[in-house]
Symmetry: C2
Subunit: 234 residues, 2 copies
Amino acid sequence: MSDKHMSSQFDADLNLVSSKVLEMGGLVEAQITRAMHALNDFDIEIADQVIAAEETLNTMEITIDEECSNIIARRQPAARDLRLLLAISKTITNLERAGDEADKIAKRVKRLAEDGSSRTVNIAEIKLSGEMAATILRRALDAFARLDTVAAAQIVRDDKAIDEEFRAFVRKLVTYMMEDPRTISAGLEYLFIAKAIERIGDHAKNIAEFIIYIVKGTDVRHKSRDALEREALS
Amino acid sequence: MSDKHMSSQFDADLNLVSSKVLEMGGLVEAQITRAMHALNDFDIEIADQVIAAEETLNTMEITIDEECSNIIARRQPAARDLRLLLAISKTITNLERAGDEADKIAKRVKRLAEDGSSRTVNIAEIKLSGEMAATILRRALDAFARLDTVAAAQIVRDDKAIDEEFRAFVRKLVTYMMEDPRTISAGLEYLFIAKAIERIGDHAKNIAEFIIYIVKGTDVRHKSRDALEREALS
């Protein structure tokens, strides 16, 4: 995963911490998929599973972060190795937040299912964007594992589609609510679910930007999509 | 701001980067206050000022982050100095995000003002929570400047009040919208404004947690309020 180091123990440290990031990412991805499954079937049991697993992600974030700072203190890395460790520290924050969003979705699904007002709104856009968000996160983790900047640039581009799906859903929701004000309460629950999915896409995009930073040494956050792409392909 | 170091140049580096964090924080605070001012008066000009200043915060985040990694690579700090630098790197992400939320508020204020549908909803809770969010962020920055863990613990506690204000507003909004469906479109704009303010409170809370991490060396993220307080006061 990295260039030549002074010690192979250092390589082993970096590989171990990287593999933990991927493990954490796999769990977040599973949480999102389960939350969308719970939404689809109004399955309270699955929603409860998502909520119960949230704690594990919190612990993983803290453990990995501690290992990153231990490695920095012990090995005093520079250049790309230091960038990798700093980027991991931020990547796991994004992963934990994406997991938080899955937890929020699960909680709202429970509320909707318990209220029984659950089937009043057509949520095709939410389901679609939920799948897109899970996919984009998986691709971000794959790109991280291979430090693939080309894939990372494409992820930043694709996050735009999730944002557009979100806006389309909000517009549709306004129409629904105006036509039948009884849908308002459930509609707002769905709005927050859609917002949570949009946030997951943002976290995947952030992770993709860190990949470019690790490999190229350029911080591409806040850059235009075109500038970012030039950097990734350079 | 820190214990004994090998070199006073190192102290100077740390002080400089810390002062830049406070400068950035001051700008974020001003952005929030201006965004709330724009909301209060439906002042498009002030909203535009907020939107124009957003770019500066992006640049500040990237510059400070670069300085942090440069100092780590050059000085190879350990213990509290390393924690300070790692915490600064995460603090500025939270500051930048809080600034993003001010930008989002300004954009929605513009849309509301341009639609003319602006005065249909009583937004007392939003104004109150906006003031609370600006205050809590200022207190987080003060606590950071003094590395005051007791103040930090109180900030984490007080963020709860902002969250409660947000939930109260959502409940009120549902009633409004059901009584008069013509308020739905504007209502959703206000909902996102309220959500943005709630997020600003979360960012201030995150910054407060990093202060405890710097001083005590314990990562208190995801801990219960009571456990966090014990840590801060220990």
